[in-house]
Amino acid sequence: MSAISIIARLTFREAIRRRIMLAGLVLGIAFVLIYSVGTHFIFGQIAADTAANMPSQMTANILQAESTNAFMMMGLYAATFLSIAMAALLGADTLAGEINSGTIQTIATKPIQRADIVLGKWLGFTGLLGLYVLLLCGGIVLSTFIQSGYSPQNLLLGLGLIYSESVLIMTITLMLSSAFPALATGGIVFGLYGFAFIGGWVEQFGALLQNDTAIKVGIITSLLIPSESLWRRAAFEMQTPITGSFGSPFTTTSVPSPLMIGYAFLYMIVVLFIAVRIFQKRDL
């Protein structure tokens, strides 16, 4: 068994033993339940209102599909945020905490490479986040489908992008955790996330108001931290055209290009590489 897979399995087992998995599962189910109960009443109300007020069945159907999509996107947005929080929490303490406590010393003095430790943890967290995103987003999509028979377009691509965003945030956190203490790492990650979020908003409003400067500010922010562009591409893939034309944090008006998405993946690889380099160089 390679050192990377030993560390990855250890990371998984740690999440189970320290009840991180359980907490994620319970809160994830609660999240999907609340979404389901809320949308159950909302969808029912919308169906009744549109049937009563719309001139034709066709317009009623369109309006119902639009509003269902809008609510689903809202749910997915919240799920994305929770996945990002999970990504930051998983990554923040891992290297920093083990360096601080000295746990890393007996691991790092084994005949393995330091890169194996970082990559093994990354792989373990990537697996954990996959399960979490599947639970949250899969729950939202499934609940919506069961209640209304609606399923969004480009579902797998959209969920894949949402998952990639959480993995990107986790990778950035891991890099910071190899250099800074856990608390500082968590603080910086949420700061960066907020930075990307505001940049995304500026770009969206720029697009709505057709202000080129605002759009450029958004693009520059995305180049610095491309996390939010992954969500916006995911939203673009899954939302209906009418929903997309309204500016809101849950939807997208200015669409990140495939080039930007490619950049985000490249960014992630570079950050992971830097994480390995920092960890290789530092004193433990």
């Binding site: 030993i6 033993r17 007996t106």
Partner: protein, 304 residues
């Protein structure tokens, strides 16, 4: 055969503070080597450099004939860190399996070795308990087992008896003797001088990140014995007569202190005093302890 450890002017600077100034030493194969020094002398930093945890600022070092950090060498090295913390959510069994896997041990060999070591450190009844439920002494024991999994050619023990009760300390001491008898070199970092004194073949005194003295402990017991004689009615010329057996003779009330070459002269000294009509109440030889040498070497202030 290559030395177990060889360093040449190993140096580590943190900012503008030199934690280790220039460490030069050799540890031979099969030797139990004590690393002694006051707090903050650079003992742990030195050990971490040898283990590849900390990159030296300058200097050279090799373990088992390979440059430090070499993975082939690390396969044959064991390490018990100071105040160590482990994955406390693992059971003792899982913990040892994890470290054995990281050492690249074969499954059968690892399981056999794990059982053997759990038994040796007395943790077999607790093997399925998570480490979070372990006392400090139990953690130290499982840590020691971890350090010996791969039957290392060289094992580093950083303060292995800290936090242990007398029974645990005896266990560590016995285990050190056993592995040493099997040919393992032991590098023991401790400030418990009595521990070092009974386990080590040689010691290095380190102060301000430099080796200030290397001492062969086998020679310690024979030379430099001081003796205290409680005696009354001893004439001044009789006192001077003692100089034929010893030196640095001092009289302090009814106590006479002197340094003799060997305990074998004591019966002669006794006969002499009796012949001089002195009243002898007691004769107590005091072997010069490692503690005396330690204080003599690093100074009473501990080199602060």
């Amino acid at each position: 055969m290559a030395d177990a450890i060889e360093t040449h002017l190993l140096r580590k600077v943190f900012g503008d503070y030199a934690a280790v100034k220039g460490l030069t030493l050799q540890v031979q194969q099969g030797e139990v080597f004590g690393f002694l020094g006051p707090n903050g002398a650079g003992k742990t930093t030195s050990m971490k450099m040898l283990l590849g945890l900390i990159a030296p600022t300058s200097g050279e070092a090799s373990l088992l004939g390979k440059p430090i950090g070499d993975r082939e060498a690390m396969r044959r090295v064991g390490f018990l860190p100071e105040h160590f913390r482990f994955q406390e959510w693992l059971t003792a069994d899982e913990f040892l399996l994890l470290h054995g896997q990281l050492l690249g041990m074969k499954k059968d060999d690892l399981q056999q070795r794990r059982d053997e070591l759990l038994e040796r450190v007395g943790l077999t009844p607790f093997r399925n308990k998570q480490l979070r439920t372990f006392s400090k002494g139990m953690l130290q024991r499982v840590g020691l087992a971890q350090a010996l999994l791969n039957r290392p050619a060289l094992v580093f023990l950083d303060e292995p008896t800290s936090g242990l009760d007398p029974v645990g300390r005896r266990l560590v001491r016995d285990v050190i003797r056993e592995v040493s008898a099997q040919g393992t070199s032991v590098f023991l970092n401790s400030h418990l001088l009595s521990e070092i004194e009974v386990t080590c073949d040689r010691v290095a005194f380190i102060q301000h990140g430099e080796v200030v003295r290397v001492l062969d402990l086998a020679s310690l017991s024979s030379d430099q014995t001081s003796v205290t004689i409680r005696v009354s009615n001893l004439a001044a010329e009789s006192l001077n007569g003692l100089s034929q057996w010893g030196r640095e003779i001092q009289m302090d009330g009814e106590f006479v202190h002197m340094i003799i070459a060997s305990e074998t002269v004591l019966p002669e000294v006794t006969r002499y005093l009796v012949a001089q009509n002195a009243e002898v109440y007691s004769i107590t030889p005091n072997r010069m302890s490692l503690e005396d040498i330690f204080i003599e070497t690093v100074g009473k202030d501990g080199g602060l």
